[in-house]
Subunit: 208 residues, 2 copies
């Protein structure tokens, strides 16, 4: 399992000639790192006298950030598995008409699966960036750069995941799925990028 | 050593109540992941008939990307060590005037060290984004989203590292160092963000 490997080995495996883990798994991992930073800022705020009035907010935010961290970490593996399923479908026999048909159906099915995983990454990033907004506004000001890095990472993960959804949509014949997914991508990207920009403005104010 | 830990454990440690590893180490790791994706695209291009004319470019780019990947991976640990050195300096005794003076000198020294590590991350990101530009322009078009994710990650890593340089500059008394570093940050950020934007335009063109 990819996330059980040592960090340096995982990075090395990304660099290898195998096409997966690639940009999809990296986006999921970077989203998980962003959620992890949000959790850290919550934990560095909870219990501090100066922040007693936001204690409840931070506890709720921490529970949600931890859930997203775990889900995004799981998606690192899932993205690579979904990519391999597409590759496997391409290796199916294509001698007879029936084989050609079955192969085509299998490729379509696997490609849809490979689009859904980064779409899930995007959806989790949308939730995670809202949590980072809370920690940047109300969390321990000593950790303000960590909130900033969290926003940067979650935004990059979301835009990266969007590229991975789109490349898979390109070959899908289910036009309803393609259209609704494209619309969903646009909505999430706008929301995440807008929130990330607002967070970075807060970070700038608190940093100077 | 941080990068010898399993990926899921590293992410968990970022999320923990310990302030390090935090945004600095995360920025270094995300930079390393960006460099790794550049290496992967090179490897998926080298040896392919269709890309014989860029073979030499890809080999040179791969060698440089691999060096940056390793250096950025090393900086994950170094950022946490540099942060801990600042924390340790703060625990020095401050009873006598001499102790106060020594403590103050130690804090300044350690804080400068903690600024230099993310500055190195930025400098490596500046080099890495140039390599990503090459792979996005000339590399295997099937890996174009990986080049896009590489650009997103290296840009986020660089901006994240800049926040970590700046928070340390805030408490430094060496005004010459502060000023030259601030100027260096601005130059790198402008360069990296400009190149990342150009790469993402290339990705859009090739994706549609």
């Amino acid at each position: 399992m990819l996330t059980k490997k040592p960090v340096h080995e995982f990075v090395e495996e990304v660099a290898s000639a195998l096409p997966a883990p690639g940009g999809g798994s990296v986006s999921a991992l970077v989203g998980a790192l962003g959620a992890a930073l949000a959790s850290m800022v919550c934990r560095l705020t909870i219990g501090k006298k100066k922040y007693l009035d936001v204690q409840h907010d931070m506890e709720v935010t921490l529970a949600r950030a931890e859930e997203l961290r775990l889900r995004l970490t799981d998606l690192v593996e899932k993205d690579t598995t979904a990519f391999q399923a597409v590759m496997n479908a391409f290796t199916l026999p294509k001698e007879t008409e029936e084989q050609k048909h079955l192969r085509s159906v299998a490729i379509q099915e696997a490609t849809k699966g490979a689009a859904i995983v980064p779409l899930e990454v995007m959806s989790h990033c949308e939730q995670a960036i809202g949590l980072v907004h809370t920690v940047a506004d109300k969390g321990n000001v000593n950790s303000i750069t960590d909130a900033g890095v969290a926003a940067l990472m979650i935004n990059a993960a979301c835009v990266g995941a969007a590229l991975n959804v789109r490349i898979n949509l390109g070959t899908l014949q289910d036009h309803h799925f393609v259209q609704t997914t494209q619309e969903r991508i646009e909505v999430i990207l706008k929301s995440v990028q807008g929130t990330a920009t607002a967070i970075l403005q807060t970070v700038e104010q608190k940093l100077s």
